[in-house]
């Protein structure tokens, strides 16, 4: 690829960089990344290259620790969900969406409080993302790694936390899809985030299929593995 002069490439966004040039540097192969944040760098690089190629983004490199791989992907999802939350803030107010719902079947209670609360949808969204940020950055559940090749070490007991984070943040997709369809579609067209997320949780079995209620657009690319039955 473009690693002929790999040694001289400095991957930096200097002050004054134009938005279109932000992070626009040649890809760096994962094995050459000498950083504790290599997996994050790699994932972001893949997304940057082509956000629609969900399958490739989710293809785990060989010799990669699966726990770390899932953890980093989930961080990336939560981060990108901020973008959806920003859009929702403009339209989803406590007066219009008093409860966090998707279909009429369930009212989701906000788990950020001592006793789960019926927060308005926008609060639920914000609290869930804030809570996920705290949890995923928590030194208690994801302590700093002893080995230098990754920022955290994933304890077996903490892996279950990933599942519950997935379940909660997925409700943001579903609320947006069923109540703010235009926002959802715009966002999805740009980021393919729900698409990728559905793939992710299915692939790593982090959520049960009956909970994946947002239909995924199958038309445009070859992702036939998505059997929504």
């Amino acid at each position: 690829m473009k690693m002929a002069d790999g040694s001289t490439i400095l991957r930096r966004n200097r002050p004054g960089t134009k938005a279109k040039d932000f992070c626009r540097w040649p890809d760096e192969p994962l094995e050459e990344m000498d950083s504790t944040l290599a997996v994050q760098q790699y994932i972001q690089q893949m997304i940057k290259r082509d956000p629609s190629n969900v399958e490739l983004i989710l293809t785990m490199p060989e010799a990669q620790d699966e726990g770390v791989w899932k953890y980093e992907h989930l961080r990336q999802f939560c981060m990108e969900l901020n973008g959806l939350a920003v859009r929702l803030q403009k339209q989803c107010s406590p007066s219009t969406c008093t409860q966090m719902t998707a279909t009429d079947q369930w009212i989701f209670l906000c788990a950020a409080h001592k006793t789960p609360k019926e927060c308005p949808a926008i609060d639920y969204t914000r609290h869930t993302l804030d809570g996920a940020a705290c949890l995923l950055n928590s030194n208690k559940y994801f302590p700093s790694s002893v080995t230098p090749d990754h920022r955290v070490s994933i304890k077996e007991s903490s892996v279950t936390k990933l599942g519950s984070v997935c379940r909660r943040v997925y409700r943001i997709f579903s609320h947006a899809y069923f109540h703010h369809r235009r926002i959802f579609d715009e966002f999805e067209a740009e980021t393919y985030l729900c698409h990728r997320f559905t793939h992710f949780v299915t692939k790593y079995n982090l959520m049960s299929k009956e909970n994946l209620i947002v239909p995924i657009n199958e038309e445009e690319n070859a992702a036939p593995g998505e059997s929504e039955a």
Partner: protein
């Protein structure tokens, strides 16, 4: 050495007579005593005084002998005339009374002359003995100072070792893991007292490595062989002298280099001069000088050395009291036998410094010399980064330096709070002007509000984790820069999306999971068409710079918030950073891609002056300015460059005042404290450095963040009124140091 030279003197004196030999011998032992007392702890003054009095005693003795001899000569040959015994008087008397030559008169005269010459000869001999004794004394003193020096070097090493152990212990207590080893990335070495892990790792090797021990043994053996073939003291002395002179030369050069680099220890003056003043004796001064020459490159060593010198003038006991953890060390009465304190690598769990003492034979000078130079080598290896940290810590430990140092601001910053909640690099951070509150802006598109008083004790660690109180969401891309109003009520953020968002700060006691208040986001300043990279506030105005090539002045919360736009000539390229000129109203300074800064008058929009250095900047590739800040009180602009430099500019003349290589990689961020005394810089080399603006020396270096791609530290900040400093990194963390 003292004994040896004494013996030599005695042999030379033999012709004079037994009494003279005895006298010189006594004098010599007195000198020996002087040397001894010298070696027992004084820097030179006391020792020298004693030696001189010893010489005086010797003189008295010699006088006695001379008169005795005169008496004997006269008594043997002429019983009548020797009553006076004056050497000149005798012959004169003879000539006056007997003008004619008589046989007895001639004989008497010859005898008299003979005794006079004999007397003179004995005087010369005595003089010679005296001078030889003096040489011996000086030699002895030199040896003693050398051994003192090597002893001090060892002691420094010991102290450093103990320090390392302490650090390791501290680190373990804090993180429950062993400190990272050599060349390994040290994620939190900043936490261990701000001393950096470098000292530990760099100098650990010589002690722990097995090869060194075997090497030492080998040397010992070699010396034995040398002694057997008669390669003895004298030759070894010459050799050691040579080693010494070479060493001295090298270290001199090093010392100069250090001074030129401007990274000499801050405030070493107080203690250093104290030490030197306390030893008025020439030799003492020389020893001081030599010691500081040889260790000058490395400030902590120098400081320890000097404080040691000062202490040593008292008594050894005082030294020991100060370094009681070293245990009692004894100085043997032979100069050449000096105690060798050897480090024993301690068990990781056990932080006590164990020492094995091993008396050395009298011929160990060579080893000592070599050891000494080795020690210096180790010291020289210590990275320049941490010299002042070490110095501070040493002061804190032995309790001697701190008071002498004076300046109350001089403290070691330690990482206390870790702000982890961002999913991606933290691009900027800013403190509230009064409260212990700060805001961070990240590439994860959010800003977060933190209250340092609301902490969670992190597990097995002395640092505290802080959870964010509020997350500001409005940007649709990475947030790149922050500004805060002087009242601390509002905050502004610029993003890659080209917008400047205005925020009303929620209460610092807000419940993190409170209801969403849309009024927190109180407006958007639209005008820039590309990423907003720089933002700074002054009273009610903000000025921003953007990748669209413009600098804009805003007055938020007014009808027409955009007041003015400043655009530079095409050749300057886009702006990269901007600041208000703090000591001049209505002036802003903008850094451009051309590596020039331009000061504008905000009212007229005209360029006031351009900061450029004619020769230095001529080839300005790679001199890209990452950050520009204005000194809060002086007409000085400070710029952080891609070529690792920090440069200082005079705003009135537009000239370069000072330029220094400040980091190992590009300098990305700068902050000046509210009083304008200290400068904080951050770099992609993962470290932040605190500089004394007075003498432009590095006060402390802290490794603070990890790298993501080729970026590490994005921003640093001072709290305006509270003792906090903070750094923001590409690793998604922000850290606050106290």
């Amino acid at each position: 050495m003292g004994t040896n030279s004494g013996a030599t003197a005695g042999i030379n004196n033999k012709p004079v007579g037994g009494a003279a030999v005895l006298g010189v011998g006594v004098a010599n032992s007195a000198i020996g005593g002087g040397v001894l007392s010298n070696s027992l702890g004084s820097g030179g003054g006391g020792g020298s005084g004693l030696s001189i009095s010893g010489l005086g005693g010797q003189n008295a003795n010699v006088g006695g002998i001379v008169t005795g001899m005169g008496g004997a000569g006269g008594g043997g040959n002429n019983g009548s005339d020797d009553g006076m015994g004056g050497p000149g008087g005798g012959p004169n008397n003879q000539q006056a009374t007997t003008p004619q030559y008589t046989i007895p008169g001639i004989l008497h005269f010859i005898q008299h002359e003979w005794s006079r010459f004999e007397l003179e000869r004995s005087q010369w001999d005595v003089d010679r003995a005296e001078l030889q004794a003096r040489i011996a004394m000086l030699l002895g003193e030199r040896k003693c100072l050398e051994s003192l020096k090597s002893d001090l070097t060892r002691r420094i090493k010991m102290l450093e070792y103990a320090l390392r152990q302490e650090r390791a212990k501290f680190y373990r207590l804090k993180y429950g893991t062993d400190p990272p080893q050599l060349n390994e990335f040290k994620p939190s070495s900043n936490d261990d007292g701000g001393l950096g892990g470098d000292v530990a790792t760099d100098s650990e090797v010589p002690y722990s490595s097995v090869s060194n021990t075997t090497w030492r043994q080998g040397r010992q053996m070699l010396r034995q062989y040398l002694a057997e073939i008669g390669y003895t003291d004298n030759i070894i002395d010459v050799r050691s002298n040579r080693v010494r002179s070479i060493l001295g030369l090298n270290n001199n050069a090093d010392h100069d280099g250090g001074g030129g680099g401007g990274i000499g220890g801050v405030g070493s003056g107080g203690i250093g001069s104290g030490g030197e003043n306390l030893s008025p004796n020439i030799n003492g001064n020389e020893s001081n000088k030599r010691a500081s020459e040889s260790e000058g490159r490395h400030t902590p060593a120098k400081k320890v050395q000097q404080s040691n010198d000062a202490i040593i003038l008292d008594t050894e006991a005082a030294v020991m009291a100060n370094f009681e953890f070293l245990g009692p060390t004894e100085m043997s009465d032979d100069d050449e036998i000096s105690d060798d304190l050897e480090m024993v690598a301690t068990d990781n769990e056990d932080t006590d410094v164990k020492m094995a003492k091993r008396p050395k034979s009298g011929k160990d000078m060579l080893t000592e010399e070599v050891d000494g130079s080795l020690g210096l080598g180790e010291l020289a290896q210590l990275t320049v980064n941490n010299e002042s940290d070490g110095a501070y810590d040493a002061n804190a430990k032995d309790g001697t330096g701190g008071s002498a140092g004076g300046a109350g601001y001089r403290k070691t910053w330690n990482a206390k709070y870790t702000l982890r909640s961002h999913f991606d690099g933290v691009r900027s951070l800013i403190f509230h002007p009064e409260e212990p509150v700060l805001i961070t802006a990240s590439e994860d598109n959010t800003l977060k509000l933190w209250n340092l008083q609301k902490t969670v004790q992190a597990k097995k660690s002395a640092s505290l984790d802080v959870e964010p109180l509020y997350t500001f969401r409005a940007h649709t891309g990475p947030v790149l820069c922050l500004g805060m109003s002087s009242s601390g009520e509002t905050c502004y953020s610029g993003g890659l999306d080209g917008n400047i968002e205005c925020w009303q700060l929620p209460s610092p006691n807000i419940d993190p999971y409170d209801c969403y208040d849309p009024n927190v986001h109180s407006g958007t300043l639209e005008g820039h068409t590309d990423a907003v990279w720089g933002l700074t506030t002054m009273q009610n105005n903000i000025v921003s710079c953007s990748a669209d090539g413009t600098v804009k002045l805003w007055s938020p919360y007014t009808k027409e918030p955009l007041l003015r736009t400043y655009t530079a000539a095409e050749a300057e390229g886009g702006p990269s950073s901007v600041d208000f000129v703090r000591n001049e109203v209505d002036h802003i300074v903008v850094a451009y891609n051309s590596a020039h800064c331009i000061i504008y008058d905000t009212e007229t929009g005209k360029q006031v002056i351009k900061l450029e250095a004619s020769q230095e900047m001529s080839g300005n590739t790679g001199k890209f300015i990452n950050k520009v800040v204005s000194h809060p009180t002086l007409p000085i602009t400070i710029t952080a460059h891609e070529d690792r430099h920090i440069r200082f500019w005079d705003n009135t003349s537009g000239t370069l005042v000072h330029s220094m290589v400040a980091h190992l990689e590009p300098v990305t961020s700068l902050a000046v404290d509210a009083h304008g005394l200290y400068l904080l810089s951050g770099s992609h080399d993962c470290s932040i450095r605190l500089w004394n603006l007075d003498n432009k020396t590095c006060v402390q270096e802290i490794t603070a963040h990890r790298k993501k791609f080729d970026e590490s530290i994005f921003d640093v900040a001072f709290h305006a009124t509270k003792p906090y400093i903070a750094s923001a990194g590409a690793d998604g963390l922000a850290k606050v140091f106290v």
